[in-house]
């Protein structure tokens, strides 16, 4: 009989730690009064759901268009400036959705530079603005997927008599579907969680409903119930998608030759530039220039000491939380890979669920769980001190962003056949040694990707930071937000610019690192 291994004990402990606030939320939602919930169902939720679905559809549609099409051309054609265009197409990820929304609200408003009299606060415009910040999720996965197709697929398609258009539709897109869906999943989650911009645009989404029951109807219980329902719906969608794709896992055959880049003719080149420059200009250059120009107009108001202090705060919380997420998610995913039991598979599904709940509700769940610990005994006094709230803040980030860190590591680990570990085990290596000697080196790009993506996400994070931060603790994001909601956009610009610059540097660094890895053809 085998005793429980040390790593399994650690796993259990970590799992309980990460999942318990979510569990708390679910349990609590069952012993709440349902009066408000019934009221919402009767009066508002239908409208709110329709708006949510419509907004998700618009953002998904535009994210797919401006994500997939440029990715296709960059992956398959050689043209001047290709590498720099490729790089910039990722960078809108550095711009938080609220900064995108505030920027365009200024530009499109009647008091903006164009004196636009048209009422720009429309759900369709909001959907497009969200797509501007979110399409890189689609672009990045499409780029990797399109780059990995071997020439054999194209040759075969050609032999079957398919033209270029049919090849894309019948071969490329179906083969890339799992990758694109995983990117789209992140886009949809982000839209579901969006609060500031949807409220400003007067678009009543499901998340607005959660906050309406909490803030306006004084019923945090109903907010918990609505969040649980949202969580179940997302989990359901997720599992349905898993179920239908169960037998469709693709492994790209490695021994096929990577297709070489095509040289486009002049009219094709023109088309490519237009297609790639549209997202670059609208989703990157305009917001970045707008913020930079604003800095110059408010230069004398900048408090550099404070700026430095907030940059340090943002950097510290992002770094600590993203390193911890990297460690924990690698630990679970690696155990899933090495273990024969299905337990780790389920653990990995469950700890991702935090991503489907609005940040503010994650924060609420964490406060409630820590409080209940506090109330166990009069001598326990967890809440109150700076360091405890600092830890709680990090804890909430981990719960919320675990899914973001896991996703690149998971797809990278899946690429390698189990035969690797069997042979290593036959050589008598321990699991840890196998990780150190084999999995860490071959997956290092995925680890770095995970670290960067989580870091960038936390750097931009707002609701959790606002609720859980300790006294006098501001970050670049909270300061940007405070100025922006008071419509002091010029003053907020220096803080938002620092967020954008730091995130851009990291993303550029990541891209260069990945380029070296030959993930992409160059």
């Amino acid at each position: 009989m085998k005793t429980v291994k040390f790593q399994d004990k650690v796993a259990l402990l970590l799992f309980v730690l990460i999942f318990s606030p979510i569990l708390f939320l679910l349990v609590k939602s069952f012993n709440q009064d349902t009066e408000t919930l019934q009221y919402l169902f009767k009066n508002l939720l239908f409208d709110y759901s329709i708006n949510t679905i419509y907004l998700v559809l618009i953002t998904s549609f535009f994210s797919l268009i401006i994500g997939i099409i440029p990715a296709w051309y960059v992956s398959n054609y050689q043209f001047a400036g290709r590498r720099i265009i490729d790089l910039i197409l990722y960078l809108p990820l550095a711009i938080p959705t609220y900064i995108m929304a505030f920027t365009y609200s200024e530009l499109l408003s009647f008091t903006g530079p164009f004196k636009i009299t048209y009422d720009f606060l429309q759900i369709e415009i909001l959907g497009i603005l969200l797509a501007f910040s979110l399409y890189p999720y689609i672009y990045s996965v499409s780029r990797i997927s399109f780059s990995l197709f071997g020439s054999r697929y194209y040759d075969m398609a050609k032999n079957l008599g398919l033209n270029a258009y049919q090849t894309i539709l019948k071969v490329v897109l179906p083969l890339s579907r799992p990758a694109i869906l995983s990117g789209l999943f992140l886009v949809v989650m982000e839209v579901l969680n969006e609060y500031g911009a949807v409220k400003y645009f007067g678009v009543n989404t499901y998340t607005i409903g959660i906050f309406r029951s909490w803030n306006s109807m004084n019923d945090s219980g109903a907010a918990i119930q609505l969040s649980s329902i949202l969580l179940f719906m997302v989990a359901f969608l997720f599992f349905v998608e898993k179920y239908f794709n169960k037998n469709k896992r693709f492994s790209f055959s490695k021994n096929t030759q990577l297709a070489s880049l095509n040289s486009p003719n002049n009219s094709m080149k023109f088309l490519i530039y237009v297609i790639c420059l549209i997202p670059i200009i609208l989703a990157f250059l305009i917001p970045v220039l707008f913020n930079l120009i604003n800095i110059f107009s408010s230069y004398e108001d900048i408090n550099f000491e404070r700026l430095l202090n907030l940059t340090f705060n943002s950097f510290t919380v992002s770094l600590i939380a993203s390193v911890l997420i990297l460690i924990v998610s690698t630990f679970f995913l690696y155990n899933e890979k090495m273990s024969n039991s299905k337990v780790y598979y389920y653990i990995n599904q469950f700890i991702s669920l935090g991503y489907s709940i609005p940040g503010a509700v994650v924060a609420l769940a964490v406060v409630i769980s820590v409080t209940s610990l506090d109330n166990l005994d009069d001598n326990i006094k967890l809440l109150g001190s700076f360091s405890v709230y600092f830890l709680i803040l990090i804890y909430a980030y981990i719960i919320r962003f675990m899914a973001v860190g896991k996703s690149p590591i998971k797809s990278s680990l899946e690429k390698y056949p189990d035969s690797y570990n069997n042979s290593a085990k036959n050589l008598g290596l321990s699991n840890f040694k196998i990780f150190q000697k084999i999995y860490f080196p071959i997956n290092k790009y995925a680890f770095f990707t995970a670290l960067t993506l989580v870091f960038v996400d936390i750097m931009k994070e707002l609701p959790i930071t606002l609720i859980l931060r300790p006294f006098n603790f501001d970050t670049l994001a909270t300061q940007t937000y405070e100025f922006a909601i008071e419509e002091m956009i010029p003053l907020s610009s220096i803080y938002s610019s620092v967020i954008i610059i730091i995130c851009c540097i990291l993303l550029i660094f990541l891209k260069m690192f990945l380029d070296k890895s030959n993930v992409f053809r160059n």
Binding site: G202, S297, L383, P470
Partner: protein, 340 residues
Amino acid sequence: MKNYIILFFSLFILASCEQNNSNEINIYSKRHYQVDIKQYENFEKATGIKVNVIKSSDDELLERLKNEGKNSPADLFVTVDAGKLQKGVQMGLFQKIKSDIIDSNVSNDLKDINGFWIPITYRARLLVYSNERVNKSDLSTYEDLANDKWRGRLLVRSSSNAYNQALMSSLYANLGEETVTNWSSDVVKNFARDPKGNDRDQVKAIAAGQGDIAIVNSYYIGLLLSSEKQSEVDAGKSVSVFFPNQGDGQRGTHINISGFAMTKNAPNKENAIKLLEYLTGVDAQNTYVNNSYEYPANPKVKPSDLVQSWGDFKRDKLDLNALGTFREKAIKVFDNTGWK
């Protein structure tokens, strides 16, 4: 490598352990105006008492207070809506504040009749109208906004907004359910567009010709007119301010306060009272009015010149706690009449 990580974390935890000195005040604040930073700095200079602040939304801060219970480090809670203060009182989070200085500093009709919260400033939720397209003589009361002469001309933000909820609560308290429900459904018919944006966006929409009158808070007009952007000043100048319900026998314009409450277990109670005495005093009140265009709670202080130029007005004397007690009913009126 491992050692570095351990070193890093221990350094960090050391750095983040704050000393528990008692010469401080901890505030949970919904207000996030620049003027507040200035006030707390001035107070610190005058008294040596350090003011620590966490800024977030009021409901979330109340939830945090509730959960922290007796362990909460917070001494004071400040927000921009009497209704939310009343909510905190209902949740049993606050204690009464007793100070003769504060009592003599603050206008009587702004005070909490139960003594739980202290107003520092107030704002009027008033009407602005297009100078080009509206005659001042057509404006009279909030009730009159239901008149079909305003069909397709009225601008206002969403019913999720606390200021609108407070206004609807005051109307509910003053007029009763049936009247206010009829009023609201007629007002919705008069909307120029679906409710959206913030208060300043309503003014800009008038300037852009999307509507003719709007319901907004007084200080936003001040902020627009004092903007560094000429286009915003122009937008502010294209409208005029109107205080509704000023006629003989009418109840006055709806107002709301910014106010502080003291938490039940405030660890620095004396310091907190000192701060409130300071903030309601003449100097601090002058700082408020000149930076945020709010009205002072202290009757000895005059509003800023710009705000004075709109003229005096009669305030609705409704007990401001009604803005909290009637909120749920107000929400139902919004929902039943399709005010998004």
